[in-house]
């Protein structure tokens, strides 16, 4: 493209570059610049590793926290469905009446299952578990009420709907007391929510830091190449052409930082796996921590590359423009 000389008829002629060839050459030039940027990182391993390290670790922290929150959500999701409502029946209710109540409750659409525990069974179980043993045998009468355990369906298992169901159950004439131990669950949910917000916040702050760090690194690169940029501008390089190597540098920082973060996350999870297993064993639960899924890994790498590119983009926009031949 020549603005001044439409076909460059004056002076010596030049070979015209065809459309296909120029597209191919743009591609070739991109690959060349990408590789040369990578080569430059390779030639200054210490400086590159430090920048990549900062980026990688900055991404490791929110990624690990994200995995923790995801796993906590997974566990509590299991607990949520187990939320049971205990109904203590009035002492005056006979066994037949209790059976009728159970039969009635079984027809409710909100209820998944109903278990009837007669007072005698409850006493036996208590005797067995409490270790009081014979002491209980001295009791004149059974102090325990009949109990009906109601498990809501999945749809009605959430804190709010379970509460509504409890209110409805309490109105049954056979029911003395109804109990849904949900407050601790609500607190847990609130905590998990706060943790989720914290992850977002920490992630956001670290991402901003990463953009600033990359931006500053690229700024130093640009200043180091001041003379080269002047010469390139003198012989007719467009801003885009001059920007490209720096953008590729940002891209490589992002990609390598992302891979480092992935590696760190794997190490951390492997390290924590044992302690989590011990913790889960205390609750007689089999629990395997879920690592990064494929989609999450791609998101992490994409995010890392985007941050690297963003940092370098901000830097080149600001600083390459300031360098002009004088």
């Amino acid at each position: 493209m020549s603005i001044l000389f439409s076909n460059r008829s004056q002076g010596a002629s030049r070979v015209k570059i065809g459309l296909v060839q120029s597209i191919v050459m743009v591609f070739v030039s991109h690959v060349r610049q990408a590789l040369s940027s990578l080569g430059e990182l390779w030639r200054q391993p210490a400086a590159s590793l430090m920048t990549i390290g900062v980026l990688g670790l900055s991404i490791t922290l929110p990624s690990t926290l994200y995995i923790m929150v995801k796993n906590t959500e997974k566990i509590t999701a299991g607990w949520d469905q187990a939320s049971e409502i205990s109904l203590f029946l009035k002492p005056s209710i006979s066994a037949t009446q209790s059976q009728q109540l159970v039969a009635r409750l079984n027809t409710w659409s909100e209820i998944d299952s109903v278990v009837y525990i007669p007072a005698d069974d409850a006493l036996k179980e208590f005797q067995h578990l409490s270790g009081l043993g014979d002491a209980i045998a001295y009791l004149e009468s059974n102090p325990l009420p009949d109990v009906v355990l109601v498990t809501p369906t999945e749809k009605h298992g959430g804190p709010t709907s379970a509460k509504a169901l409890l209110a409805k159950l309490k109105q049954q004439r056979e029911v003395d007391v109804g109990k849904l131990d949900i407050e601790w669950l609500e607190r847990l949910y609130a905590l998990v929510n706060i943790a989720g917000d914290m992850v977002t916040l920490i992630g956001l702050l670290l991402f901003i830091a990463v953009v600033l760090i990359i931006g500053n690194t690229i700024r130093l690169n640009i200043l180091n190449k001041h003379d080269e940029i002047v010469v390139m501008k003198l012989v007719g390089a467009t801003d885009a052409f001059i920007h490209r190597p720096f953008l590729y540098t940002g891209f490589w920082y992002g990609l390598l930082g992302g891979l480092l973060a992935w590696f760190c996350v794997i190490i951390i999870l492997w390290w924590m796996d044992a302690s989590i297993a011990t913790f889960a064993a205390m609750y007689q639960k089999e629990f395997n921590i879920t690592g990064l899924t494929g989609a999450a890994l791609l998101t992490m790498l994409g995010l890392s590359i985007a941050l690297g590119l963003l940092g370098s983009l901000i830097s080149v926009q600001r600083h390459v423009r300031q360098i002009e031949p004088r």
């Binding site: 050459m25 743009v26 003198l234 052409f241």
Partner: protein, 230 residues
């Protein structure tokens, strides 16, 4: 080819570098620009390569008003102008070959075409055997020739040279000027700024003389009264 119409340039701070300069260099012409240091030679060349913009007046190349060229298009303008500097402006960490290839790489030539053209340019400046050297290993005259090869490698219709013989002895200077003559023979317009009057005196070329930012003579070097030296 190059036309100045009532061009004045005042730098920020009030320093007046050029005032009301008029001249026209025809296509295929070779001309010299001379004058004291600080007479405005460099400023005049910078206006042609859009390193500076005129405060008043118009600079035209091939009939195109440079005032109408936006910042984005400056790069494309410079591809049409081969520029040679006293300080060479070479990349010291790149080989002679890579230095000369730079304009072609920027324009997206193929690897093969680049090799062909750089070799041709090296031939012209007689540096074939130095292609793999770093500029630092070359003498001043050789470095200047690398700069010239880079300026002509994409065959621009216009060559600008700012003190191309500044640090060279008379014999080397003459060789450089002979090179410019060769390009001029091939149809390239050549415009050379120099304060080396002895060099100009040996040739019959149109010479423009600047004094304190004003064009005081314009003609063949026979007619120069050398008034600017007093």
């Amino acid at each position: 080819m190059i036309k100045f119409e009532q061009v004045s340039k005042t730098y920020p701070g009030g320093q007046r570098a050029l005032s009301k300069v008029n001249f026209h260099i025809a296509p295929g012409e070779m001309a010299f620009l001379t004058g004291h240091s600080g007479a405005g030679k460099s400023t005049l060349l910078k206006l042609i390569s859009i390193m500076e913009r005129p405060t008043v007046g118009r600079v035209l190349i091939n009939g195109h008003d440079l005032n109408a060229i936006t910042r984005r298009d400056i790069a494309y303008i410079r591809r049409d102008i081969g520029m040679i500097f006293q300080s060479h402006q070479l990349l010291m960490d790149k080989t002679v070959f890579d230095n000369i290839a730079l304009p072609l790489v920027i324009e997206g030539y193929t690897h093969k075409e680049i090799g062909k053209r750089v070799d041709a340019a090296l031939d012209m400046v007689d540096l074939r055997d130095k292609s793999r050297c770093l500029p630092i290993m070359l003498s001043g005259g050789e470095q200047q020739r690398v700069g010239i090869a880079r300026a002509v490698v994409n065959k621009p219709p216009l060559l600008l040279a700012d003190e191309p013989t500044g640090n060279l002895d008379p014999k080397l200077s003459m060789e450089i000027i002979r090179l410019f003559e060769d390009f001029n023979q091939a149809g390239v317009s050549v415009f050379i700024a120099t304060h080396d009057l002895g060099l100009i005196a040996r040739m019959k070329y149109r010479t423009l003389t600047l004094k304190n930012g004003q064009m005081i003579t314009d003609g063949l070097n026979d007619n120069i009264d050398e008034g600017w030296q007093s």
